[in-house]
């Protein structure tokens, strides 16, 4: 299938006439840009803390009176005993999580879309996203019941699997699978809505041409949701370092701790936990900057292989 839309650059050079011509577009976007600057960019002054010593003693002082320490907070963070392993864990869990999560959601949406019985389809979809609303505390307790040593899975298989008690990257896989279990139905919603946006006419045409259901899925549905999938992928690459800490904390234990620590958790214990806001901010800033770099790299790659770009 070829794309109906051409990506030619229609941009004209700046001129007042152009601004007048696009006055409605300006009117429809500039207020939001102002909003964005006030609510998202102004608070970025908080980043100055990353270059200062901000411990309780200096916390109450205005920015300009705090001691500037240059990149010391970054140096402290990067030379921390936990940092190397934390980075490895974060990246490992991220890559696994993004691939597994995306694949599962797409497959789920694809198959759900193929169900012919409307009632069953609705029920399945409604049920599938329920775990999304269940807090991690509960999910973790159920997961541990199933997977812990001596848990339900080991009893069923009669094998000692040590899923939750092996201090190795096995823990990443366990975490990601549990995450899929919780989120697949919710994540599929986006793909389902993308599928709903595909013109039904092309399916009719394909049927006339004798395409079977697998061929329709492969040649019509998948390409139809590809732009959405690519955009979501690029965005998730940008947040590759932002693995949530609540899930990690709740699923880990004293044995697998080394492989459960992720950046946000690290920032929390070293920043808020130790009352060292400067260090915490530095780690947060590092996450942001790396995230944006990754985002633009992913965006570039998407462009190079001829897919839709984010920007």
């Amino acid at each position: 299938m070829k794309k109906p839309r051409k990506q030619k650059n229609m941009k004209e050079p700046f001129s007042l006439a152009l601004m007048w011509k696009q006055r409605y577009l300006l009117l429809m976007s500039v207020p939001f840009v102002i909003w964005l600057i006030i609510f998202k960019y102004v608070p970025l002054w908080g980043w100055t803390m990353a270059f200062q010593e901000v411990v309780p003693k200096s916390f109450a002082k205005p920015i300009w009176e705090r001691k500037f320490v240059g990149f010391q907070n970054f140096v402290d963070a990067f030379s921390d005993r936990l940092f190397p392993q934390t980075m490895i864990n974060t990246i490992g869990i991220s890559i696994l999580g993004i691939t597994l999560g995306t694949a599962a959601a797409i497959i789920f949406a694809l198959f759900l879309n193929e169900i012919r019985m409307e009632g069953f389809k609705k029920i399945t979809q409604t049920v599938s996203y329920l775990p999304h609303f269940v807090s991690w505390v509960i999910i973790a307790s159920i997961a541990k019941m199933l997977l812990n040593d001596g848990g339900a899975l080991e009893t069923m298989t009669g094998k000692s699997l040590h899923l939750m008690s092996t201090n190795s990257p096995l823990f990443w896989i366990v975490v990601c699978i549990i995450n899929v279990w919780k989120e697949v139905g919710w994540d599929a919603i986006i793909y389902l809505s993308a599928m709903a946006g595909i013109d039904k006419g092309i399916y009719e045409a394909a049927k006339v041409d004798g395409a079977n259901r697998f061929q329709q899925m492969w040649y019509l549905t998948l390409p139809g949701i590809k732009p959405t999938a690519i955009v979501l992928l690029i965005m998730s690459v940008g947040s590759a370092l932002n693995v949530g800490m609540e899930r990690q904390m709740l699923l880990s234990n004293g044995i697998v701790q080394d492989h459960a620590m992720v950046l946000s958790w690290f920032a929390y214990i070293r920043g808020i936990g130790s009352n060292n806001y400067g260090l915490g901010t530095a780690i947060g800033m590092f996450q942001s900057v790396v995230g944006i770099i990754l985002l633009f790299i992913a965006n570039k790659i998407a462009g190079m292989i001829g897919e839709d770009k984010l920007v």
């Binding site: 109450a60 005993r81 939750m164 080394d258 808020i272 009352n275």
Partner: protein, 549 residues
């Protein structure tokens, strides 16, 4: 069309919202029309309280002050940090562990002069230990009172090593005093009863070590049992006030070696490091766990279930166990006044004199009796001998209604405000608190009564080394200290290493135990253990000097 409908909806909604949003900036801490001064009070352990219960009313009648109580909600709360950032403080504050930032921010008022002038009852309450309230040698201001009890004694044991009553009964109430004796007893019982009545296999003992509870069940007992040391957080303080990170003590190495052996022999539950705390509680509640190394507040839910199921003999007896006969179980030892956490007045308070008078009233006999016992003729009565007592009806009300304290105000304000400890008596010879020896004995259940009889003692705690056998340290317990940031930071890192390190030691092969333990010590050393010990030693010396001067 649809667009119009949405537009209309938004419009309607925003009109309603406009009504709701009418909000005026309120002046804080002001004297109301009724002549009552309202002070804002932030309580880190507080809950919602409109200050309408009878005790609150009585306090207002006596002091002319009403509290407007604010409290945190989220667990990872940053309320104090936000206060500092915004420079917007309440009048009174109990910041719990966050006092350091407030003091550094200059937000707490030095109460020394105020107490001198308006606080006779505060001075009376803290007596000899008054100087412990001072912040540091360099800055001897009093920023906070103590939120913990002053003086008194212990009637109840909160527990370290414990064993089911059923086991003690089979051993004719012989009290195990060493780990070896405990081990023999557990093993014998497990052999005789491989399963419980309901068919579950018996577990020697289990721990909760998958999250922060490791400090309670894996860490703390080591200090009590192996070192015979009272609770100083993760530290052991030597005779010469030298601080030591406790897990590196040789005695504790032996304790963990014992745990390692128990693990490999299957006496220690193999799931101890991975199970959730709920699973831990569920196991205890099923009655299959023979012994425990835990503190009552941590596992009391499980005992409630056991009692409800009529398995009273599967509840636990606290034991004065230590690693060997030369180590004395320190559970009852008094550590003196706890300082570092308590109520303070902020520099934003416009009525510091009223505030200190308010606090002073709470420290007075009248205030103490009011907050602890409630209102005479309603919550308590005085008999012909001048003895305070509560009716059975009141006691039942207290025990059956979870909101008793909140509704009546009785006992509701004793924490975090200053209080006398259990057993301290006022001029009439009555104890300030409701807990007295008689009251504790009266509450014993059948198993506990039987044990007292078998041991021929009055109180269960009588089998422990008594408080009088220990000297009160010259420094307040370390766990509540306002610690320098560096110490805090290293301390957190040490705990991280110790947590996984100790578990590795316990679940490893016995022949690798020493290697594992040594490697843990090496990691501890590499992240500044000695430095932390130095800082803390200095801090303790300072605390000692404060009292001596």
């Amino acid at each position: 069309m649809k667009g119009k409908r949405i537009g209309a909806m938004v419009l309607a909604a925003s009109l309603t919202a406009g009504i709701l949003s009418g909000c005026s900036a309120k002046e804080k801490s002001q004297i109301g029309e009724d002549g009552v001064l309202e002070l804002e009070f932030y309580n880190a352990d507080g809950e919602e309280d409109p200050w309408t219960n009878p005790v609150a009313q009585a306090i207002t009648d006596a002091t002319g002050v009403r509290l407007k109580i604010d409290y945190p909600v989220a667990a990872q709360d940053m309320k104090v940090a936000l206060m500092i950032a915004e420079q917007n403080f309440p009048d009174l504050i109990y910041a719990k562990g966050d006092a350091a930032s407030l003091i550094d921010a200059g937000a707490l008022l030095d109460m020394t002069d105020l107490i001198e002038q308006y606080g006779p009852n505060i001075k009376k309450m803290y007596g000899d230990e008054f100087d412990k309230l001072k912040y540091s040698e360099e800055d001897p201001s009093i920023y906070q009172l103590s939120s913990y009890a002053m003086g008194g004694t212990v009637y109840k044991h909160s527990g370290t090593a414990q064993i089911q009553w059923a086991v003690l009964k089979e051993n004719d109430y012989k009290v195990p005093r060493t780990l070896d004796e405990l081990e023999t007893m557990i093993k014998a019982y497990m052999k005789a009863h491989p399963t419980t009545e309901s068919g579950l296999s018996t577990i020697g003992f289990t721990l909760s070590a998958a999250d922060w509870h490791w400090m309670i069940t894996l860490g703390n007992p080591a200090g009590y049992i192996a070192d015979g040391q009272p609770d100083n957080g993760q530290w052991i303080i030597g005779e010469d006030f030298h601080a030591m990170y406790k897990f590196r003590s040789d005695a504790e190495r032996e304790y963990f070696r014992w745990l390692n052996r128990m693990y490999n022999e299957g006496i220690l539950d193999p799931e101890f490091a991975t199970q959730t705390h709920e699973d831990y509680i569920a196991k205890i509640a099923s009655g299959r766990v023979v012994a425990l190394f835990d503190t009552d507040w941590d596992y009391q839910d499980a005992e409630k279930v056991l009692k409800a199921d009529g398995k009273l003999d599967k509840t636990y007896a606290p034991l004065p166990v230590s690693i060997s006969e030369d180590v004395k179980c320190p559970s009852l030892m008094s550590q003196g006044l706890v300082t570092g956490q308590g109520v303070g007045i902020t520099t934003a308070c416009k009525y510091p004199v009223e505030a200190i008078k308010f606090l002073d009233f709470l420290c007075s006999d009248e205030g103490q009796i009011l907050t602890q016992w409630g209102i005479e003729g309603i919550n308590y009565f005085v008999d012909e001998n001048g003895k305070r007592y509560r009716t059975q009806e009141e006691i039942d009300y207290n025990n059956s209604d979870k909101d008793y304290q909140k509704k009546t105000g009785v006992g509701f304000y004793s924490y975090p405000f200053p209080t006398y400890g259990d057993g301290v008596t006022d001029t009439t010879g009555n104890t300030y608190t409701k807990a007295s020896k008689d009251a504790v004995i009266a509450e014993y259940d059948a198993e506990q009564k039987a044990a007292c009889e078998a041991w021929s003692v009055e109180l269960l705690t009588d089998i422990f080394p008594q408080p009088s056998e220990f000297a009160i340290p010259e420094y307040p317990p370390v766990w509540a200290y306002i610690k320098p940031a560096e110490l805090d930071d290293i301390g957190n890192k040490l705990d991280e290493v110790a947590w996984s390190g100790l578990i590795t030691c316990v679940i490893g092969k016995p022949e690798q135990f020493d290697a594992n333990f040594d490697s843990m010590i090496a990691s501890l050393e590499s992240i500044g253990m000695s430095r932390a010990e130095e800082i803390l030693t200095e801090l303790i010396m300072e605390k000692v000097a404060l009292v001596e001067n």
